[in-house]
Amino acid sequence: MTEILTRNESLRDRPRFDCRDSYVKTLSELAEHDHRIVGVVNDSVGSSKLDAFKKSFPDRLINVGIAEQDMVGVAAGLANGGRIPFVSAASCFLTARALEQIKADVAYSNRNVKLCGMSPGMAYGDLGPTHHSIEDIAWLRAIDNMTIIVPADPVETAAALRWAAEFDGPVFIRVSRMGVPQVNADDYEFRPGRAVTLRNGGDVTVISNGTVVWRALVAAELLADQGIEARVISMPTVKPLDVEAIVAAAAETGAIVTAEEATSKGGLGGAVAEAVVENHPVPMRILGVPEFAPTGSAGFLLDRYGMSPEGIADAARATMARVR
């Protein structure tokens, strides 16, 4: 298990990155070396930040128009023809509108298609619940043969993409838009199904991924100031799940809080809860978005749903208090 023990107090002030930039840079590098790679979009060149890719590979960016079912079906057909399609579309539409294509054409057909859900969670905060993609992870988790990755920062986004390009099979990667500081080391290596312990601790565990990881790290600092040593686990792969790391956390810390920019029903929290009750039951608190969220920026909404560093620290303390 990689361990990066840093002092994270300053994370709040570190530069923030839109992971789409890392996405596009990495995709272009990969495409440079592998002619099979193509992009597939639904009028989402701009919202996926793919203009540079389009300029470099004009024939290899396939825009099917505003038609998500066709987009995913076309990707499956391109894969049949030996291409490696990276579908890039707002996560809300990609997953809600093309779910049966994802199930049948990609997962069940076992096609080498990479589904890249852009601006997921509440990145489109003030555009309302139609554009909030809080359900995507829970939806895809119910489908067999689907690897689900939620990177925490630009480094992990790039690493996950490089892995996905090598892997022959369906992958879903959530590409965050809301700015995040770098939390993984520069030489970070992504391994599917492997949790990353970003901070050690024996009193309580916080498991998160995506845009919430840095918040969890800051929460751990707040807890440390109160004498509580929190383990902070980043869980980039929601499926397959690192059950071993979860069971160890349950056994060694006795209490778990999960936090994610997604619904609190059936996502990362649900996956961890299932693993916990089936292996080592301990008190948990599942932080997430339990409803159609009101208008507001993603950051405002995360805070509102208890996922500010302070909110996560509170949840950790409250969960620890439940340990018998």
Partner: protein, 304 residues
């Protein structure tokens, strides 16, 4: 750039004209409404720092005609089962719809100052649970037409004269759900259903032609069983005539191709794909405001 606040919510509330008002007066009323809605919408987007201004401007003449002189719906009968229904399928122009609803008294003008703000009822896409006058929570493209077909079917079952209107984007027509709905609309002979296409030939990132061409759109709609009409979507007279003609062809639903320009009539914005959801700078804002205010004469809109 100051943040959106009450002082930017300035649109005068436009009454509905008495029944049987003459055409000239109606058209003047629509033109003034459209002009005021544009000015207000520009302010919303500029001060809120977000919004879909290109598509707003493209659609405002259609909205002003519908709410100003066609739909039998106003603040007093917004829950009346027999009201006409208007569904904004291209929900990303919610700003234009909110402004129109304020202009015709459905919501308080001051409320516009909350556009996109935390906890506001006015988010970037319409929410019927929070805003009176909204019939469907749209935003994802390709949802409004099926809903409109459903409502038109309900009217037919009720043997009611209430009408159903739906405004769709042209890029939006790339969604297959629309064609499913169109097949059903013609199967059920929903001749009190009017689909209006905001045919500005631009979508989010490029022209419709470059992306996924819709032409020949008339042939497509006709082959799907619609009576097809083409109008200048910035000409209130043409719009008023066709939108008031229900049924347009007995037994057939109507497909109005309203030729428009995204960003119309703002000089630097009109027919420029960059303005799908760009926000005018202060200088751009001043210029647009000047142009819109000068557009007092209803005929201006016709110079397409």
């Amino acid at each position: 750039m100051s943040a959106l606040s009450a002082e930017h919510a300035t649109i005068p509330v436009m009454g509905r004209l008495a029944p049987h008002t003459g055409r000239t007066e109606l058209l003047a009323h629509i033109a003034e409404a459209a002009r005021q809605i544009r000015i207000q919408d520009l302010k919303l987007v500029h001060y809120a720092g977000a919004g879909h201004i290109g598509g707003d401007m493209s659609a405002i003449d259609i909205l002003a005609t519908l709410y100003g002189a066609v739909l039998n719906v106003g603040p007093d009968n917004v829950e009346d089962p027999e009201r006409d229904r208007f569904i904004l399928s291209k929900g990303h122009v919610a700003g234009a719809l909110y402004t129109t609803l304020a202009a015709f008294g459905f919501i308080p003008v001051e409320q516009l100052a909350t556009f996109l703000k935390p906890l506001s009822a006015l988010n970037g896409h319409p929410n019927r649970r929070k805003v009176p006058g909204i019939e469907a929570n749209t935003g994802p493209l390709g949802h409004g037409l099926p809903i409109a077909v459903g409502h038109a079917l309900s009217a037919k079952l009720d043997v009611s004269p209430r009408r159903t209107y739906v405004l769709v984007g042209d890029g939006e027509l790339q969604e297959g759900s629309n064609w499913e709905a169109m097949m059903a609309a013609s199967q059920y002979q929903l001749d009190r259903l009017t689909v209006v296409v905001d045919r500005n030939r631009l979508q989010q990132g490029a022209t419709t032609k470059e992306t996924n061409d819709l032409d020949p759109l008339q042939d497509k709609a006709a082959a799907f069983g619609f009576a097809v009409v083409e109008v200048n979507g910035h000409d209130h007279g043409e719009l008023l005539d066709v939108l008031s003609s229900v049924p347009f062809r007995p037994g057939k639903p109507t497909f109005v191709i309203a030729h428009t320009h995204k960003g119309h009539p703002i000089s630097y914005m009109s027919n420029n794909v960059a303005w799908h959801h760009k926000v005018p700078s202060t200088a751009e804002f001043e210029l647009a405001l000047e142009e819109l205010e000068a557009a007092a004469h209803p005929r201006f809109a016709k110079e397409l």
